[in-house]
Structure formats: structure tokens, C-alpha cells
């Protein structure tokens, strides 16, 4: 029998901001937001992968009825090609109306705060906001300020959850593995090396947090200046290997990262030495990873972390990554705007009416 527990004031736990204390569901837009991969259960990951496949395969006209005329705002404080375009195409593919707000051509330039910008978009009818921001944690602020579902399209050095999900989809298809196995074993037995500027990479964080939960082993590889030892504390299933060749030898998948020049503060990298030790070129790949699948979240700096022959070579799935972005992001937008019932397995799109979801409380967890 469930017993009733009195709600007591916390005495040693810290309460969130006043604006956030209305409850967990308003704080993060509920389970419909995606701010960090750590909020996803492995079941969520499986559901998102299945939904992506289903939506991708769907007849475009039927698909465009799913979120017909629903309003999705794309709020971009940082430049982006892949992420922005694929989120936009994903929203449009589901029939939603999109509005793009970028920091250069909006009142953000006049000093409007993120909070006010979010409230303005909500007042204009936005039902979901996709946020790219240069400051880590910005999506949490937007979620608590607006109560809307927020999709994190990359926040500072923190996370890029949709990238990690599209990477998983790409890995599964490159490995010819089914995506409908139990979430915990999706990548069982697979070793993924993530190589380069781990310190400044939100892609690295999201992948390093997510992949081990799906059964993969993650090797982080890079020089100490770009990969501090405390990266190990991100979670279980992560090791550090400074020698790229040794990492490559153990890996089914190698994910290359660019050096984020814009975030290097006080870190000085000898680029010649870096390329000698960490560049993925044909010779290295042939010698130590002849079967390895090559990934890169983009943008690539050809000739620095990766050479063209590898990026465009037969082992590369870099373009598939981009392609998978649309399917994964359709699933995420659908999840953000749809009722919680699982949609996977449905044949058609019964929800046509553009009914607004209540922004607040929903039952369950």
C-alpha cells in the first residue's frame, strides 16, 4: 500500500531558483524538453530512435499533418549550418510553422535578455523553442522562464543532445545493428574513440554521457590541455588514452573533433605537434583502424584534425550523420509537442487538430 508522505521543507538540499520552484515539469518543460542526455532513460533513447525511423519512412504529405501549423521557434545565438537547417527541415517536415530568430538580426542585439526573448516568443505563440546558445546551461534558464518544451541545440561547452542521438542512429546503421533491441545493449561490445578537443566540446560530453549507457565503451583521446583527467568523472564506461594509435586499434568507431579556437582561452596548442599526434589521415587509419567507422560532427577543419582522403573516404559516415540529423530532430520535435503516449508503431497521424498542450503539469514521473 502506498503511504502518504508529508512534504517537508528541504533542510540540506538546495532549492532551485524561485522561478523554478513551481515544479519539475515547468522547470524543464517536463519530459518533452531535451536539455541534457542525462535526462533520457535508455527506453527514451529506444523510443526516439524508433520514432525517427517511423517518421523518416512516412509518406511526406501524411507526415506534414502531424504537427500541422504548430509553432516552433528556432532561437540561435551562435552560428550553425547543420543543426539549424536540420531542425528547421524537421519541424517543417512535420507540418509545423517555424520562426528563426538569430542574435544578429533581432532585439537580442539591443540587449534583450534571454528570458525576455523567450517570453516574447511564447507570447507570439511558440509552443516549443529550439535553442542554440554560447553559454552553458542557457536552455535551463529558458525552460524555467517559459515553461515551454526546450530542445537544446548546443549550449556552450555543455551538451548537444540531439547530436549524440543522431550519432547513435548513425553508428547503429553503420554497424548494421537493429535499433529495436533493448536500449542497454544497443551498442554492447562497441568501442568508440572520441578524439581531439574534448574540453571545449559539447558533442563529446553528450556522447560520453550517453554511449556507455547503451553498452558502448568510450575512449577519450587528446592532449592533457584539451582533455583533463577529470573527464573520467563524467561517468562509468569512460577511459582516457593519450596515444591515438592505441585508441584507434581498439575502436570500432572513431569520432574526430575540431579544436574550438573560439573557446581556447589561455590554452596554447602547437598545431604541428597536434596534427602529428592526433590527425586522422589515411596512413594512420590504414595502419590502426582499417575497419573503423569514421565520424565527425562538423564543422571539419580539413588538414587539421582530419584529412580529406579520410573525410571523403569509404570508412566515413560523416554525411550520414548529417542526414540522420533530420530524422532524429523530427522525433524530438514530435516528442516535444505531442501527448506523452508512445507514437511508435502507429500507422498514420491521427492528431491533426493543432491543440495546444497545457504548458504545465502532467502526471507520472
Amino acid at each position: 500500500m502506498p503511504t502518504t508522505k508529508a512534504i517537508t521543507e528541504p533542510t540540506c538540499a538546495v532549492l532551485p531558483n524561485a522561478a523554478q520552484s513551481a515544479g519539475a515539469s515547468t522547470m524543464t518543460g517536463g519530459s518533452r524538453s531535451l536539455l541534457s542526455v542525462s535526462s533520457l532513460t535508455v527506453q527514451d533513447v529506444s523510443d526516439i530512435l524508433r520514432l525517427a525511423t517511423l517518421l523518416e519512412a512516412e509518406e511526406p504529405v501524411a507526415r506534414a499533418l502531424r504537427l500541422a501549423r504548430r509553432r516552433v521557434a528556432l532561437l540561435f545565438y551562435e552560428s550553425s549550418t547543420r543543426t539549424r537547417t536540420s531542425f528547421e527541415l524537421a519541424a517543417k517536415g512535420l507540418g509545423a510553422d517555424t520562426a528563426l530568430i538569430s542574435s544578429q538580426s533581432s532585439s537580442i542585439e539591443k540587449g534583450e535578455s534571454l528570458r525576455d526573448t523567450g517570453l516574447t516568443l511564447r507570447a507570439l505563440g511558440a509552443e516549443c523553442i529550439i535553442l542554440r546558445h554560447l553559454s552553458s546551461g542557457a536552455p535551463y534558464l529558458l525552460a524555467s522562464a517559459t515553461g515551454l518544451p526546450i530542445l537544446n541545440a548546443g549550449d556552450g561547452m555543455h551538451e548537444h543532445p540531439s547530436q549524440a542521438l543522431l550519432d547513435v542512429r548513425t553508428m547503429l546503421s553503420a554497424l548494421k545493428r537493429p535499433e529495436n533491441t533493448a536500449g542497454e545493449t544497443l551498442l554492447a561490445g562497441i568501442t568508440v574513440s572520441i578524439v581531439g578537443d574534448i574540453l571545449h566540446s559539447r558533442v563529446a560530453r553528450s556522447n560520453a554521457l550517453l554511449l556507455p549507457r547503451l553498452g558502448a565503451r568510450v575512449i577519450l583521446c587528446g592532449p592533457p590541455a584539451l582533455l583533463p583527467e577529470l573527464a573520467l568523472e563524467l561517468g562509468p564506461g569512460i577511459t582516457i588514452e593519450r596515444d591515438f594509435d592505441r585508441a584507434l586499434k581498439q575502436s570500432e568507431i572513431v569520432m574526430m573533433l575540431r579544436i574550438q579556437k573560439e573557446r581556447l582561452t589561455g590554452v596554447h596548442i602547437d598545431l604541428d605537434e597536434y596534427t602529428t599526434r592526433y590527425q586522422l589521415h589515411r596512413g594512420r587509419l590504414r595502419a590502426h583502424g582499417p575497419q573503423a567507422i569514421v565520424m565527425h560532427p562538423g564543422p571539419m577543419i580539413r588538414g587539421l584534425e582530419i584529412t580529406s582522403d579520410v573525410a571523403d573516404g569509404p570508412q566515413s559516415v560523416i554525411e550520414q550523420q548529417v542526414r540522420n540529423g533530420v530524422a532524429i530532430r523530427m522525433a524530438l520535435i514530435h516528442r516535444a509537442l505531442e501527448p506523452v503516449q508512445p507514437v511508435a508503431g502507429r500507422k498514420s497521424a491521427p492528431v491533426r487538430a493543432a491543440k495546444r498542450l497545457p504548458a504545465k503539469k502532467r502526471g507520472g514521473s
Binding site: 533542510t11 538546495v14 524561485a18 535578455s113 553559454s135 552553458s136 546551461g137 559539447r202 568523472e233 589561455g266
Partner: protein, 435 residues
């Protein structure tokens, strides 16, 4: 001026070694008499004193906070001297020392005097801490002698630490001649640019740049070396809001070597750890940042073993719109005046069995002595009639919605505390009455 008889209470006055039932007569803004219960009835009647019943309450010298930001002049939207000292009174503080990072920076006799003016409507005595260098720019010393004459009790560039060795050396020497301590916010800002929390695994996971422990400890060690060079003089270094075990160890060593160094710790540094940042909670953002559990424990130990001289709140009000920003953009600091006593009673007294007398020493007697605030932090006859009456066991919930401060940036909103201020008396004037 009217008189007040506080009777039936438990007087805790570490300066006189008293922890016993006593009645207290306040007259003309001073402590007139302190006697066994009942003995002051006639004197009180003669003085036509207001009677304050203190049965079940602790009667202690008003608390002294040597590190607050009152934001005036210049940032009255965050706090004014009136609102900040009202918050102080509600928290049991009768004396606050105001840091100079106002607009303009308090580096002048005029601003120092202005802050103490009657027009400020203070509910507690305000002692300015003047800037150690002009504009807190770290280049040229201010006029310590005349600032002291105008009422300044220390010099500091607080949030803008004095990094230059030569200028810090000069500041210590000049302050010693003037009989003032130099208060340093120990942070080597050359290695904390762009940082917004403690360095470590959590900062790494959150994608935030972290302030290393060495940024604090390194500058403390540098300052102690300069202090050692001046040994024989009367130079006094006071380390503000200590937050790391490494810096505390440096202070301990220096003290064993006979240097005149003192230090303070803020309640949040012995109550909270960096985990309070959680999902980018800007009310857990301050400088120095919340640290690891081992550092928090070291701060507690320092309080227990006496190597930390006093508790100071670093009360730093900010407007809601400033804190409701991206974590990296939000300003540092939290309010602290109204939660300090409750937190300290809970953690030090209740959990760690620190005596009330020792607790009052940390919150009143020692901070007053540190900055040489004559007649404060004591209930000895002739002292200022600065008194706090609190119920040491009453349970209450701290709510920022009920704060006297203009700002609500506290991570302790909604915390249940035990130990409630019932009355605060500043120089004989009742400035706060709690329910």
C-alpha cells in the same frame, strides 16, 4: 534617551565570560548595568525603562558582520544602506562593515562620511571599509590616515584583488602605519578569467570554466610572504571569505610563525558545496565559489579549532533580472544577513555542539575586535547598547519573499532553520521586533 530593561534572559557575552541568567539595563545608548535577575528592578523603575521580557531567550551582544555590500552609493536598485541595514537588524546584526565597491568606489573621505550620514536611515551601525587603491584600480594607494579619521575601519579592494606585489607591499605598510588592516579578496584573477564556479568534475560536466583552488591559495601565500617581509611592523592582513583548505592551511602556518593574519568564512562556505549549483542555479553562484565537500569540511574544522577568526556573510544583493540570466553572465553573490544566525545555530551549535558562547564569539566579539570596533561585540557596562535577543530553539522558515533586503538572491529560500531573532537593539533603539 529612553531606557530598556531586558529581564529574565540568558545573557551570553563571551567578552566578559558570561553565560548565565542576567538582567540588562540599557540607558542613553549604552549598557548601563548587568546584574543577577531581579536586581535591576529599582534602577529600571527610576529610569522609567521599557521592560523587555526575555524569558527563554538568549541575550547577546549584537552581531557584527565585517563583510557586506550595501550597494550605496550608486546601485540603489539592488540595496540601499537603509534596506541593507534593515536586513541586518532582522538577522540580529547591529554592526556592518560595508565594502567599497560602490559607484563611485568608496576611495574618498566624502563617500566614507556620506555612508555614515544620518540621512541614510540606518538600522545598524555602518562602518565603511575604504578602497585600498584609488578606484580599486590597484595602482595608487588612497589616503589611509584621513579615511580612518573619517570612519573607515579597514582598507580593501574586495572584488578586485590587489595583484601587484609592490602595491600590496605598500598597502600593508601604509595600513600598518595608519593602524588599519588590509582585507584581501584572495583570488588570482589572472587565472580565473571566464570562470563561474569551482574547478572540478562538476564544472567539467556542466561545461563551465572552473576557478582552481590555487587561485585562492596562491594569492594568500603571496600576501603572507609580503606580510612576513614586513615582520616587526604592525601590518595586519585579513583574508576575506576563505573557501579552501589549502588557503586555510597557509593562514595557520603563517600564524604559527607569528604573523598578524586573520580570516573570515561565510556561512555558505561551511553549509553548501558546489553541488548546489545543480542545474545552473545562479543563486549558488558567488565568488569565491562554493567548493568541494573536503573544502567545506575544512572550513567547519577551522571554525571548530579556532583557526578561523569570524563569520562574515559577504551579503551581496543583486536584482532578480540580474540573477535570471545565463549562469556565466549572472553576477556573483548572495544575500546573507538574515540567514546567517539560523544557519550557524543549526550547523555549528546543534549539529557540531559548538557552545552558544563560542558562536557569539565568532559572530560578534571577534569580528568587532578584529577591526578594532570599540564598544561593539560586548555587553560590558559602557559598551554600546547593541543587543540581539533570539530564541535558540524556535523553528522558522526563511523566505526571501519576507526579506528586508531589496534583493532576494539567496540559495536558502525555503530552508527551515532553528534559532529566531526576536529583537534587535542598536545603540539603545529597538530596530527589529520579530514575532
Amino acid at each position: 534617551m529612553n531606557s530598556i530593561l531586558i529581564r529574565g534572559g540568558r545573557v551570553v557575552d563571551p567578552s566578559a565570560g558570561i553565560d548565565a541568567a542576567r538582567d540588562l539595563l540599557l540607558k542613553d545608548g549604552r549598557v548601563a548595568a548587568i546584574e543577577a535577575p531581579g536586581k535591576l528592578a529599582a534602577a529600571a523603575k527610576q529610569a522609567d525603562a521599557e521592560i523587555v521580557e526575555a524569558v527563554g531567550l538568549v541575550v547577546a551582544p549584537g552581531l557584527v558582520d565585517i563583510h557586506v555590500h550595501l550597494r550605496e552609493p550608486g546601485q540603489g536598485y539592488k540595496e540601499t544602506i537603509a534596506s541593507g541595514t534593515a536586513a541586518a537588524a532582522a538577522g540580529g546584526f547591529t554592526t556592518v562593515c560595508a565594502m567599497p565597491n560602490t559607484i563611485p568606489v568608496n576611495d574618498s573621505v566624502e563617500t566614507t562620511r556620506w555612508m555614515q550620514g544620518a540621512e541614510r536611515n540606518s538600522s545598524a551601525r555602518v562602518f565603511p571599509i575604504a578602497a585600498a587603491t584609488r578606484g580599486s584600480m590597484g595602482e595608487a594607494l588612497t589616503e589611509y590616515g584621513s579615511l580612518k579619521a573619517a570612519g573607515a575601519v579597514a582598507v580593501s579592494d574586495d572584488g578586485k584583488p590587489i595583484l601587484g606585489e609592490a602595491i600590496m607591499h605598500q598597502a600593508l605598510a601604509a595600513a600598518a602605519r595608519a593602524g588599519l588592516p588590509v582585507i584581501q579578496h584572495a583570488e588570482d584573477t589572472r587565472i580565473t578569467g571566464g570562470c563561474s564556479m569551482n574547478a572540478g568534475a562538476l564544472a567539467f560536466r556542466l561545461g563551465l570554466r572552473g576557478m582552481p583552488v590555487a587561485a585562492e591559495a596562491g594569492l594568500v601565500e603571496r600576501d603572507l610572504r609580503l606580510l612576513a617581509e614586513l615582520k616587526g611592523g604592525r601590518a595586519h592582513l585579513h583574508v576575506a571569505h576563505l573557501s579552501t583548505a589549502a588557503a586555510l592551511d597557509a593562514v595557520r602556518r603563517a600564524r604559527r610563525n607569528g604573523l598578524h593574519v586573520t580570516c573570515e568564512v561565510a556561512p555558505h562556505h561551511f553549509v553548501l558545496t558546489e553541488s548546489a549549483v545543480g542545474e545552473y542555479n545562479t543563486n549558488a553562484k558567488m565568488n569565491p565559489p562554493l567548493r568541494a565537500e573536503s573544502d567545506r569540511k575544512a572550513m567547519l574544522e577551522g571554525l571548530l579549532d579556532g583557526s578561523i577568526d569570524c563569520i562574515a556573510t559577504d551579503h551581496a544583493p543583486h536584482a532578480a533580472h540580474e540573477k535570471e540570466q545565463e549562469f556565466e553572465r549572472a553576477p556573483n553573490g548572495i544575500t546573507g544577513l538574515e540567514s546567517a544566525l539560523g544557519l550557524t545555530l543549526d550547523l555549528l551549535h546543534r549539529k557540531h555542539k559548538v557552545s552558544l558562547s563560542r558562536l557569539i564569539t565568532l559572530l560578534s566579539t571577534q569580528p568587532a575586535n578584529l577591526l578594532n570596533l570599540k564598544g561593539r561585540g560586548s555587553l560590558a557596562v559602557g559598551s554600546f547598547a547593541d543587543v540581539v535577543l533570539f530564541d535558540p530553539v524556535a523553528e522558522w522558515t526563511f523566505r526571501v519573499s519576507a526579506t528586508r533586503s531589496k534583493s532576494t538572491n539567496s540559495p536558502f529560500d525555503g530552508w527551515t532553520m532553528r534559532g529566531k531573532v526576536r529583537m534587535t537593539i542598536s545603540e539603545g533603539r529597538i530596530v527589529y521586533r520579530g514575532e
